[in-house]
Amino acid sequence: MRLIQGNEAVALGAIAAGCDFYAGYPITPATEIMEQMARILPSRGGVFIQMEDELSAAAAVIGAAWGGARAMTATSGPGFSLMQEHIGYAAMTQTPCVIVDSQRGGPSTGLPTLPAQGEVMQARFGSHGDRIAIVLTASSVRSAYEMTARAFELAEIYRQPIIVLLDAVLSHMRENVDLPEVTPAVRPKPVPGDAFQPFGDNPFVPFGEGYRSVVTGLAHDESGLPNTAGGKAAERMMRALEDRLRRDARKITHYTTHALEGAKVVVLSYGITARAAREAVELLRSRGVPAGLLDLQTLWPFPDWLVQEIAAQADAILVPELNLGQLVMPVQAAAQGRCRIEPLGRADGNLFTPEEIADAARSLLAEKEGGVLHG
């Protein structure tokens, strides 16, 4: 049992998962992840490097991955915006790596020290063109540790940049936790023959290990070489990944539920907000209101199937978020009108209190009972 801070948990989770490379640029509220890494990595022979900005931090991470490292960076809103081009590059080049974004109030410099959840859609759609995104989040110090470690694992499995979203409160919050053991994912070491294809559904072979890959952000096929058919090949590989993720949906969708059984109003929440939501649900249940909680740790690929299961059972889903309304859109799209979906947004740098969420949830049911349910 240790008292550790959210950012520290991220660093420890990464190290436990085999992370041996960190490149970054300081920014509140993610800085302590970097500072931890600066302390830990040299003593393990891993690389810590402070880059000149976030563009280069993300680039260095990708370069390092191709040098064989398990690499990560961490940032916050403004830096996350600057990393978007390279997140797309990592996706296109199937580079396993991890990017942590601790969300603070935005847009722009915004509220640098206050929590927000304003990058939920950016994490999915923030880079130009189209890519498949895998995005995790956490609502406790322990899950910050676990999800960071899991991100490294997913990065290996799918050869993609994995994004972990935190927020200013979780980053700086301390909780006492027992950190679970984590075994770093084993990276297969194929001996590439002449017919070896370095991309697509093939194992990752870094430079210097006997195979001279061609890595490019241009559309390319499994050989890595860009050619006129690159567009079709690139789309084919992306769709294959999409399919694979769909097949693996139940394995990669991390979530916890609370009091879902018989719930007529379900709070669908994530990250720090889910903690207030949990207290709200307990409050409501204690007052006899049939409320339940779905706390998502996997935001993307968005678990439509989970929402559909809930929409089939509940009258209403409340989606409280520290933004102007983001994740509510895929929820609405998934529910397809089968139950009422209500956004609850705030973007002033404050957390929702349990009471606020409880009130909003209760009023949804009240309206329903009063017959004023607006589909």
Partner: protein, 181 residues
């Protein structure tokens, strides 16, 4: 524990060691076998004006991490009192550094000569530890033994003696208060 969950707020100026105090309190609570969450205000305000550190202690898992209405408040400075010291749960305790009274004659709470005590120990920097000792003596938020051990854990060796003295002085200060809750 006075209540479960118990919500504690420490507040003061930047540089007064509020966050470290919160962390030590949280660590002590952990050693007492409790669940604990510590949060803090952060940023430029943490340097200037009033900053705070909050600790929630409970016997079961804690969901909402922040303190909306505290059960215990400790204020080291005038600004901290004005911003954070005026709200407390029914039956809650507000502990104030005595000099606040000079600036705000109608301030409400228990006044203690925390700064004076720290100065007498030779370094005003240990104000936070004196305060922590007093708070714990008055409220039994955590056990003294756990707090001592948390102190040993978080304080640099070269400053340990000074801090231990400060803690004990704080305990004594707290004990001296009649309206011990």
């Amino acid at each position: 524990m006075r209540s479960d969950p118990l919500r504690i707020r420490l507040s003061g100026r930047g540089g007064q060691g509020i966050i470290l105090a919160g962390t030590m309190l949280a660590e002590a609570a952990m050693q007492d076998g409790l669940y604990v969450v510590q949060t803090q205000s952060y940023g430029p305000e943490a340097r200037l004006g009033a900053s705070k550190s909050e600790v929630v202690v409970a016997s079961k898992e804690i969901a909402f991490p922040e303190v909306l209405v505290p059960d215990l408040v400790l204020c080291f400075s005038r600004e901290a009192y004005l911003k954070f010291g005026k709200q407390v749960s029914p039956g809650g305790v507000v502990l104030l550094e005595e000099s606040i009274l000079k600036d705000i004659p109608d301030a409400q709470g228990q006044f203690l000569p925390l700064r004076r005590t720290a100065r007498e120990l030779g370094k005003e920097l240990v104000l936070n530890v004196v305060g922590l000792g007093a708070l714990v003596a008055i409220t039994q938020a955590v056990s003294r033994e756990s707090l001592r051990s948390a102190l040993r854990h978080r304080v640099k060796p070269e400053f340990l003696d000074l801090n231990v003295d400060a803690l004990e002085a704080g305990f004594r200060l707290g004990e001296s208060v009649p309206s011990r809750a």
